[in-house]
C-alpha cells in the first residue's frame, strides 16, 4: 500500500490526480475501522490531516460566515473560539465518540463518510452549509443538501477532495440533541438539530438517523415560524406539540438491530419539542 502524507493542498490534489483510486485519509476513525474490518480495501492512501489549508478556519464578520477546513477536528469544534460561532456544531462535537476519537476525527471525514448517523451532519443541514470541493481540474461548491445522495453515497468524484464547509453565523438559538442507548460513545439512534435565525425569522430543523440521508422537516419549520414570537422568544404549548408531530412525520426511519422505526419516530417528536422549547423558553404573552 502506498501512503502519501500531503502537507499542502496542491500536494494532496496532485497525489489524488496521480492515483485517482487513492483513498483520502483524515483522522482515520471511520476509514481504519472499515479497513481493519475488511469492509473496504485500498492500495493507495493520501493523508490530508496535515494539510495547512484544511486544518484552518476563518470567520468573516462582514458576511457573517464561518469557513471550517475539512481537517478541523471535533475537539477543536467543541472548544472556543469555534464553539461560540457554531454552538450546535460544538454540541454535536461533544457527543462524538470519546476524547481520543474527538482528537482525531474531522468534520471533513464526517461529511465524507456521509452516514445518516454522522453527528456533525444535522447541524450542517440545519445551517444550509456549503461544501467546498477541489480537484486538480478545479473547484466547486455543493449545497449540503445536495452532497449526500444516499447512505454513505455522495457526489464526490474520484480525485476530488473536500476542502471545507461554510456555514452562516446566525443570531438566535441553536442546539443539537442525540439519542443513543449509552450516555456517551454511542451511535445516534435518532438526532435533531434546531437552529433559529431571529433577524431572518426562520427556524430550521434537521433530523439524523431517521432516513437514508439527513432530512429537513419543512412542515415543522413553517409551523414554528408561524407560531413563534421571535421578539419575546416564546411559543405556545399547542404549537410545540404540533411541531413535534410534524417533525415525526418528516422522519423516514427503519427497523434495524439498533432500534425500531416506531421508537425512532417517537424520539424525533420528543427531541423536536424539547429543542423548540429550549429555543423559545418564554411563555407567550408573558412579561
Amino acid at each position: 500500500m502506498s501512503v502519501t502524507v500531503a502537507h499542502t493542498l496542491d500536494d494532496a490534489l496532485a497525489s489524488l490526480a496521480a492515483t485517482p483510486t487513492a483513498t483520502v485519509l483524515a483522522g482515520g476513525t471511520d476509514l481504519m475501522v472499515e479497513l481493519n474490518g475488511g469492509h473496504r480495501r485500498t492500495d493507495a492512501v493520501v493523508s490530508v490531516n496535515r494539510v495547512r489549508e484544511l486544518r484552518s478556519w476563518r470567520h468573516d464578520p462582514a458576511a457573517a460566515t464561518l469557513h471550517i477546513g475539512a481537517a478541523v477536528t471535533y475537539a477543536e469544534l467543541a472548544a472556543e473560539p469555534l464553539a461560540s460561532f457554531a454552538p450546535a456544531l460544538a454540541q454535536a462535537a461533544r457527543t462524538v465518540g470519546s476524547p481520543q476519537i474527538r482528537n482525531a476525527a474531522t468534520i471533513g471525514g464526517n461529511v465524507g463518510t456521509a452516514s445518516p448517523a454522522g453527528d456533525g451532519l444535522p447541524v450542517l443541514s440545519a445551517l444550509d452549509a456549503v461544501v467546498h470541493l477541489a480537484s486538480l481540474a478545479g473547484r466547486r461548491d455543493v449545497a449540503f443538501a445536495e452532497f449526500a445522495t444516499g447512505p454513505k453515497r455522495t457526489v464526490l468524484q474520484p480525485g476530488e477532495l473536500i476542502t471545507g464547509i461554510t456555514i452562516p453565523v446566525l443570531s438566535g438559538y441553536q442546539g443539537y440533541a442525540k439519542v443513543g442507548v449509552r450516555n456517551a460513545m454511542v451511535i445516534a439512534t435518532a438526532s435533531a438539530c434546531l437552529a433559529v435565525d431571529v433577524p431572518g425569522r426562520s427556524v430550521r430543523l434537521a433530523l439524523g438517523s431517521v432516513g437514508p440521508v439527513i432530512l429537513r422537516a419543512p412542515e415543522a419549520e413553517a409551523l414554528a415560524v408561524a407560531a413563534a414570537d421571535f421578539e419575546a422568544g416564546a411559543i405556545d404549548a399547542d404549537a410545540v406539540e404540533a411541531f413535534g408531530a410534524a417533525a415525526g412525520r418528516a422522519a423516514r426511519p427503519i427497523d434495524d438491530h439498533r432500534s425500531s422505526a416506531a421508537y425512532r419516530r417517537r424520539a424525533i417528536e420528543v427531541l423536536a419539542r424539547r429543542l423548540l422549547v429550549r429555543a423559545f423558553p418564554g411563555t407567550p404573552g408573558g412579561e
Partner: protein, 765 residues
C-alpha cells in the same frame, strides 16, 4: 529454532509487595497492565511462527455437501489447510458432553461454526486462503425458537437430540395454594462476556510431532489439555499448557475455542502457529450467557410469607452442549432466591437450537433465576401492600433453612443483614437530574436530550443467593506446591489468573502462614496438578485452600527443624511477624535464618466436601456452599425517550472475610458494571440465527460514564467451612444488581418491565 514465548505474569518476585492477609497489597501484574507492558496472550510470538485463521459457517444450519481446497492450496505462502478429515483423535469436544465438532463435518449448526483452518506466512495470505476455500452447503431451515426444542416439534438437529437436559423439582405439598398469588413471565437476553483480551494462542510443536506446547489464555489449563489431547490423539502428558496473559474471562474461556485448531496446525506444519481472534470472531467463537424465558407463580400468605413457588424455565443453549446442563441446574435450584420456601414445583429445560452456543458466564444460571424471582418479590410486595424491603426481610433465609432441593444451608447466611446494611447506606444527596445542570448526570448524557424537568427517579431492590464451587458430585480440587528456602517462599499452581487477583492473594497467604516477605510465583502451567477452573467464585476458596495447605505443611517442617535445633517441642512454635517464636519461652529466630540453606517443600491438594446428584424430583445436596448479597439501585429515567442513568448502587455482600479488601471492592464494582450492562444495554441480537451486532459499536458495554456511584458494606462473618473463612466474591455482584436496576426503572415509570436488558422502546411504549 529458538522460541521467545513469554512466560506467564507474576513469575518474578517484586520486593515492594509485602502485604499479608487482610491487607491490600499491589497486584504483581498491576503496574505492567497499566503501563501496557503486560504480555497478554495476543502478544505471544515465536521465531518463524505462522499465522492461523479459521473459516466459519455463514449459515445457522446447513449440510456440508463438499469442501474444495484446491484453489486455496495454490496460494503462495499457505502452509496448511485442515478440515474435519484432518482431526487425528476424537472429532468432538465439550466440557460435559463431547458433542461439538473440532470442525464441522456433515452439518454446520450455527453461524460461526469452524469448518476449516489455515496456516500461512501472513494474515493476508490466511484471509485470501479462507476466501478461496469453496464450501458447498445445502441450506436447511434453522431451529431458532427454543420452545420448539421443548415441545419436540422440530426434528433433531444433532444426533444427541434437541434437549440438553430437563430437570424437575418437586418439593413439599404441591397442592398448597396461597391467599395471595402473583405470577409473571420474564425474559433475559443473551449477554456476552466481552472480555477485552481477545482469544489468542501460540502452539509450538515438539520435534517430530511427539507433542505440543500451547500458550493460551484460558480458565482451566488441565481441562483444556485433556480435551485438546483427546482431539489430537495424544496422551495428556504430550500436551503441555502454559497460561498466556489473560485479559478477562467471565466464563467465556472455559470452553475450547482455538486451542485444538492452533495445536493441529502447529503439528501439521512443524512450526509455531499463532491464532488471534478479532472482536467479531470472538463473538462467534465463544459461548455466551443463556437467553432465558422464565415463568414464575408465587403463593403467599396475606402478610407476604411465601408458601409455594411454581416455575418453568426454558434456557436456549444454542447449537452445542457446553455447560448448559449445569447452568440449568443452577437456575432451577435457585428458583426461590434467598427466601424460605417449603413447597415448589419447577420444570426446567436447557435446549439445543441453531443459535449461538451458550455456556458459562459469571452468575451461571443464577442471573436468570434471580431476575425472575426478584421481579416476583416486587409483585408480591405490591399485592400484599408491603414495601420491597419488608417483603424480603419477612422471607429472608437463615442458616439451617432448606432449599427446594431439600439441601440444608449450612453456611453463614446473613440475608437479613445484607438487606438491612444495604438499606442503611445513604441514598444519593444528588437531586433528580443531578447537581448544577451537569448534562453527564442526566439520562442521555452527552446527547443533551433532557432537561431536569423531564426526569423521574426510581429505587429498586435485588437480593440473591449464589452457590459457590462446582455441584452434582464433581470431585473438585486444586493443587499447590510451596517451597521455602532462605526466607523466600516459591509457589507453584496451575490456577488461571484471569485478572481476578489470585496471584496477589496467593502471596498474601504465603506471607501470613510462613512469616516471609518474598514470594516467588512460578509459571502457571500444567507441570503441576490441576487447580480446577477459575469460575464458580471458587479459586480463593479452592486454590487459596491449596496454597494455604501447602504453606502450613511447610511451616510444620520448619517448626520441626527449628524445634530439633533448639530442643523445643515444635507444637510450641508459632510465626510472629517475620520470626519463628517459642510461645512458651524466649526463642525468636527469623524465618530467613531458620530456613537458610535448607529447602522445605510440600504439595497439597484441597478438596471440598462431596456433593450429590439430584434425583428425578430435583432433591439432593447438589451444591457445595452459598453466598448472599443485596443491591439497592437508584436510577433517573427519561420516560418520554426511555433513557436511563443509573445514579447509585448500594450493596452489602456476604464475603466471609476480606482477604484483600481492595480486590473485593474491585470484584464488586466490576460485577455491578456487568449487572448494569445486562439491565440497560448489553445484548447479542440474533435474527434467524444470525448475529446482528458482533462488534463494540452495536454491542454496547457500560463505560465509566454509565457507571453509578457504588456504596459497599462488606459483611464479614468468617465461614467455618471455608479454608480461609472467605467466601467467593466474584459472581454475586452481577446477579442481583440487574434486577435492582430494572426494579428501579419500574418504580420510576410505574410500568411493568419483565425483560432485560430494558430497551428504550420498552419504557416508551
Amino acid at each position: 529454532m529458538s522460541t521467545t514465548a513469554p512466560v506467564a505474569a507474576g513469575s518474578v518476585v517484586d520486593p515492594t509487595i509485602t502485604g499479608r492477609l487482610g491487607d491490600s497489597p499491589a497486584r504483581p501484574d498491576g503496574v505492567a497492565k497499566v503501563q501496557g507492558s503486560f504480555a497478554f496472550s495476543g502478544d505471544l510470538s515465536a521465531d518463524g511462527f505462522l499465522w492461523g485463521a479459521t473459516l466459519r459457517s455463514p449459515h445457522p444450519y446447513a449440510r456440508v455437501v463438499s469442501i474444495d481446497l484446491s484453489a486455496a492450496w495454490k496460494i503462495n505462502g499457505v502452509e496448511a489447510i485442515i478440515t474435519a478429515a484432518d482431526v487425528p483423535g476424537k472429532p468432538t469436544y465439550g466440557l460435559i458432553s463431547q458433542d461439538q465438532p473440532v470442525f464441522a463435518a456433515e452439518y454446520v449448526r450455527f453461524v460461526g461454526e469452524p469448518v476449516a483452518a489455515v496456516a500461512a506466512n501472513h494474515p493476508d495470505t490466511c484471509r485470501r486462503a479462507l476466501e478461496a476455500i469453496v464450501v458447498t452447503y445445502e441450506v436447511l431451515e434453522p431451529l431458532t425458537d427454543p420452545e420448539r426444542s421443548v415441545d419436540g416439534s422440530f426434528p433433531p438437529i444433532h444426533p444427541d437430540g434437541n434437549v440438553f437436559r430437563h430437570q424437575r423439582i418437586v418439593r413439599g405439598d404441591t397442592s398448597v395454594t396461597g391467599e395471595v398469588v402473583v405470577e409473571g413471565d420474564y425474559e433475559i437476553g443473551m449477554q456476552d462476556q466481552a472480555f477485552l483480551g481477545l482469544e489468542a494462542a501460540l502452539a509450538i510443536p515438539d520435534p517430530g510431532g511427539a507433542g505440543v506446547e500451547l500458550y493460551v489464555a484460558t480458565q482451566w489449563l488441565h481441562e483444556d489439555r485433556h480435551q485438546i489431547a483427546a482431539c489430537l490423539g495424544l496422551e495428556d502428558e504430550q500436551v503441555r499448557l502454559t497460561l498466556g496473559g489473560v485479559g478477562g474471562a467471565f466464563g467465556a474461556r472455559e470452553d475450547i475455542s482455538l486451542q485444538v485448531h492452533t495445536c493441529l496446525l502447529a503439528l501439521r506444519t512443524g512450526r509455531p502457529v499463532r491464532i488471534a481472534y478479532s472482536r467479531e470472531e470472538s463473538f462467534l467463537g465463544h459461548v455466551h450467557r443463556h437467553p432465558a424465558r422464565i415463568w414464575m407463580r408465587h403463593h403467599a400468605t396475606v402478610d407476604g410469607k411465601i408458601v409455594k413457588i411454581e416455575a418453568r424455565f426454558v434456557m436456549d443453549g444454542g447449537a452445542y452442549a457446553s455447560t448448559s446442563s449445569a447452568v440449568l441446574i443452577n437456575a432451577v435450584t435457585h428458583t426461590q432466591g434467598p427466601y424460605k420456601c417449603d413447597n415448589a414445583v419447577v420444570d426446567g429445560w436447557a435446549v439445543r437450537t441453531n443459535n449461538l452456543p451458550c455456556g458459562a458466564m459469571r452468575g451461571f444460571g443464577v442471573v436468570q433465576a434471580c431476575f425472575a424471582h426478584e421481579g416476583q418479590m416486587d409483585r408480591l410486595a405490591a399485592a400484599c401492600g408491603l414495601d420491597p424491603v419488608e417483603i424480603r426481610l419477612r422471607n429472608a433465609m437463615e442458616t439451617g433453612d432448606r432449599l427446594i432441593t431439600g439441601q440444608v444451608i449450612e453456611n453463614v447466611a446473613p440475608v437479613a443483614r445484607c438487606i438491612l446494611e444495604t438499606a442503611a447506606l445513604p441514598l444519593p444527596d444528588e437531586p433528580v437530574g443531578g447537581h448544577d445542570g451537569d448534562p453527564m448526570r442526566l439520562p442521555g448524557g452527552a446527547g443533551l436530550t433532557a432537561d431536569r424537568s423531564h426526569i423521574r427517579r426510581g429505587i429498586g431492590w435485588g437480593v440473591a443467593i449464589k452457590n459457590l464451587m462446582y455441584s452434582e458430585g464433581f470431585d473438585d480440587y486444586s493443587t499447590a506446591r510451596c517451597v521455602l528456602r532462605d526466607g523466600v517462599a516459591s509457589l507453584k499452581f496451575a490456577t488461571s489468573e484471569v485478572g481476578q487477583g489470585f496471584v496477589t492473594i496467593a502471596g498474601q497467604i504465603a506471607r501470613s502462614v510462613l512469616g516471609v516477605d518474598d514470594v516467588v510465583l512460578e509459571p502457571i502451567d500444567t507441570t503441576i496438578g490441576s487447580a480446577g477452573s477459575t469460575s464458580a467464585s471458587r479459586q480463593t476458596w479452592m486454590s487459596g485452600g491449596a496454597v494455604d495447605g501447602a504453606c502450613r505443611l511447610v511451616r510444620e517442617q520448619l517448626f520441626a527443624h527449628v524445634g530439633s535445633q533448639h530442643g523445643i517441642d515444635p507444637l510450641r512454635l508459632a510465626i510472629d511477624g517475620r520470626d519463628v517464636i517459642d510461645t512458651m519461652g524466649d526463642l525468636r529466630v527469623p524465618v530467613a535464618e531458620a530456613s537458610a540453606g535448607v529447602t522445605f517443600e510440600e504439595t497439597f491438594e484441597h478438596h471440598h466436601r462431596p456433593t450429590e446428584d439430584l434425583d428425578e424430583d430435583g432433591q439432593g445436596n447438589c451444591h457445595t456452599a452459598f453466598a448472599f448479597v443485596a443491591h439497592r439501585a437508584v436510577v433517573d429515567v427519561d420516560p418520554e425517550l426511555g433513557l436511563v442513568k443509573v445514579i447509585q448502587i448500594a450493596t452489602a455482600q456476604d464475603i466471609g472475610r476480606a482477604l484483600n479488601p481492595l480486590s473485593v471492592l474491585g470484584q464488586i464494582e466490576g460485577g455491578i458494571a456487568q449487572g448494569v450492562g445486562l439491565a440497560v444495554m448489553e445484548e447479542i441480537i440474533q435474527t434467524d440465527g444470525r448475529v446482528r451486532n458482533a462488534n463494540f459499536t452495536d454491542y454496547l458495554l457500560p463505560t465509566m460514564l454509565d457507571m453509578p456511584d457504588v456504596l459497599v458494606s462488606l459483611i464479614e462473618e468468617p465461614d467455618p467451612m471455608a479454608p480461609l473463612g472467605a467466601k467467593g466474591v466474584g459472581e454475586p455482584p452481577c446477579i442481583s444488581s440487574t434486577p435492582a436496576v430494572v426494579a428501579a426503572i419500574r418504580d420510576a415509570i410505574g410500568k411493568d418491565l419483565t425483560r432485560t436488558p430494558v430497551r428504550p422502546s420498552d419504557i416508551v411504549f
